[in-house]
Symmetry: C2
Subunit: 205 residues, 2 copies
């Protein structure tokens, strides 16, 4: 794509996709930017503007075909295929992620869960056997894995991120409540419940 | 505050606060918008502009006093006090949230964890005893709780959200991968790992 799309627009596309998939599950076939906007608390104009960055997906007056638009957004986001993902850390969060069965329909396949705690290594976690972190690098390189989720204590997260990046990981979703430093070309997203809570308290009386 | 601050600015303040707290833990006393920006991947100009919406927190050339700025941001976000929070759903995610000890220093206190599964009710989860969801409304109203975290299956999330709002909850952090409909005046934040992963695949080769 020649033109640079603002990251904030990219960030909204997965939210649109989730709403479209939900509508499809409800048996719906057609929607509008108005309806999408009402569901998501985003203005219809914003949705039209965001989508227009990538092409023409609906006709004036007839709205969007839900399945077609969902497929187009999947293609833009490159989730019209399956990405291998590993989980580092087999505590509560890591286990919740390993057990979550919603990834496959969103474009992701969990390929392994790693921990450095010898008492956990080898034990079963749902369909997975927890692997030794020492084997992580080889698995990443052999399988060409680009995406990892970090669910280790805050104090270990940077060291794990460094190892992952060295092994070839290019996208990290971190549950550790710290800012990770990574080289250019590697993307990080953080999931930190306190950040989300603090964003809402501003508005409370 | 008379003027309306854009929500996207509010959304960055908790991220600044986390970085400031991290610097303080490192024993640092002074920082700059440049340094903060490098840590966070945000431009120094953006950080200065965001903070200037709320006042004058640093002197040209001498930077920001970390503790002072952190306290100011805490006050803006209203997390210079402790907010009571409940957790609904005692599965893997709910238990991880109940066991996470990072809330208190960020302005939150977990006051209870609820589930409608009779086989879980009454069992201990760390320092908490899992309560019956039937008692949720009374606890919320008696204690005047305004914030809840939803960690129930997707199919139950809307129903739980309706109950919470009816009981008086005004801010919901949801781990269920669905868009929740709530009345005006209630805020929702979603934590959905697929959304974050899909935002990064766009940039992968």
């Amino acid at each position: 794509m020649a033109k640079q799309i603002p990251d904030i627009v990219i960030g909204r596309l997965p939210v649109y996709l989730r709403a479209l998939q939900q509508m499809k599950q409800e048996g719906r076939q057609v929607t509008s930017s108005q309806e999408l906007g009402e569901r998501l608390g985003i203005s219809a104009a914003q949705i039209r503007k965001d989508l227009s960055q990538f092409g023409e997906f609906g006709k004036q007056g007839t709205g969007y075909n839900i399945e077609y638009l969902a497929n187009q957004v999947r293609e833009i986001l490159k989730v019209n295929r399956s990405w291998d993902v590993i989980i580092v850390g087999a505590g509560d969060i890591g286990r919740a992620l390993a057990g979550y069965n919603g990834f496959s329909e969103r474009g992701f396949k969990i390929r392994g869960i790693f921990d450095n705690n010898a008492s956990l290594v080898g034990s079963k976690q749902g369909e997975f056997t927890i692997s030794d972190s020492k084997t992580m690098k080889e698995v990443i390189q052999t399988s060409g894995i680009k995406i990892a989720m970090i669910a280790v204590p805050a104090g270990h997260a940077q060291q794990v991120a460094d190892q992952l990046v060295e092994a070839g990981i290019r996208a990290i979703l971190s549950y550790a409540p710290v800012n990770l430093n990574v080289p250019a070309g590697v993307r990080v997203q953080n999931i930190d419940p306190s950040i989300h809570l603090q964003r809402m308290t501003y508005y409370l009386e």
